[in-house]
């Protein structure tokens, strides 16, 4: 059971690490929203589900209710983070931010980014 908890926490931490690297390294505002919206949601799901399984070590009615409450946090976050990401995208579009585009194919060699 501890093995499952450790695996879940490590997977969640890996997703959080990928999301952070994406937020730092991505070139544009809209591309930065992509790791921030998706990887944080999945990382939080993995870590909180691992913690909810660890909480059931001493099984009783109280710990079962606590685990259900942790999964309710996951349920709420699965709705709230995509909604917040959509609100930020909407604010960017209304404010007139232009997405990053490549102008000509001849400029592709010099940038070094794909």
């Amino acid at each position: 059971m501890n093995f499952f908890v450790v695996i879940c926490l490590c997977i969640g931490f890996l997703f959080f690490l990928g999301g952070t690297v994406g937020i730092i390294r991505m070139p544009d505002f809209y591309t930065r929203l992509h790791p921030a919206g998706k990887l944080d949601t999945l990382g939080l799901f993995a870590m909180v589900s691992g913690l909810a399984v660890y909480n059931l070590h001493h099984f009783s009615f109280g710990t079962l209710l606590l685990s259900i409450k942790m999964m309710l946090i996951v349920f709420f976050v699965f709705h709230s983070i995509p909604t917040a990401t959509h609100a930020i995208v909407d604010a960017g579009m209304r404010a007139g931010l232009s997405p990053l585009t490549r102008k000509k194919p001849s400029q592709l060699q010099g940038t070094g980014e794909k």
Binding site: F16, V48, S80, T83, G92, L100
Partner: protein, 100 residues
């Protein structure tokens, strides 16, 4: 198991400091908002881990739920506020041109 939880918490704190770079140096206000949202979603997990370290999970679950809700409300309110602002995109407009 407590040592492992402590290591994961320290790693999450490090990731929050790395995301804080985007809050400080973001070219637009909305980039800073992305950083705040990422830090908030890491804080929910961090509060649960602190609850396991202190062995008071029943209290810290409620705090984590309230923190997630407050984070959501803050991001929604800030984005609703900033999409009426003009002049928000001047600096990043230059930067996108320079990259492409």
């Amino acid at each position: 198991m407590n040592t492992f939880f402590l290591c994961i918490s320290l790693g999450l704190c490090f990731l929050m400091f790395v995301s804080f770079y985007r809050c400080l140096m973001g070219p637009t206000i909305l980039d800073r908002l992305i950083g705040v949202n990422a830090i908030g979603s890491k804080t929910v997990v961090l509060l649960l881990l602190i609850g396991f370290l202190y062995e008071r999970v029943d209290m810290f679950v409620d705090i984590a739920l309230a923190y997630g809700f407050l984070n959501f409300v803050a991001v929604i309110a800030a984005s609703r506020y900033f999409h009426k602002r003009k002049g928000l995109y001047e600096s990043s407009f230059k930067e996108t041109k320079e990259i492409s």
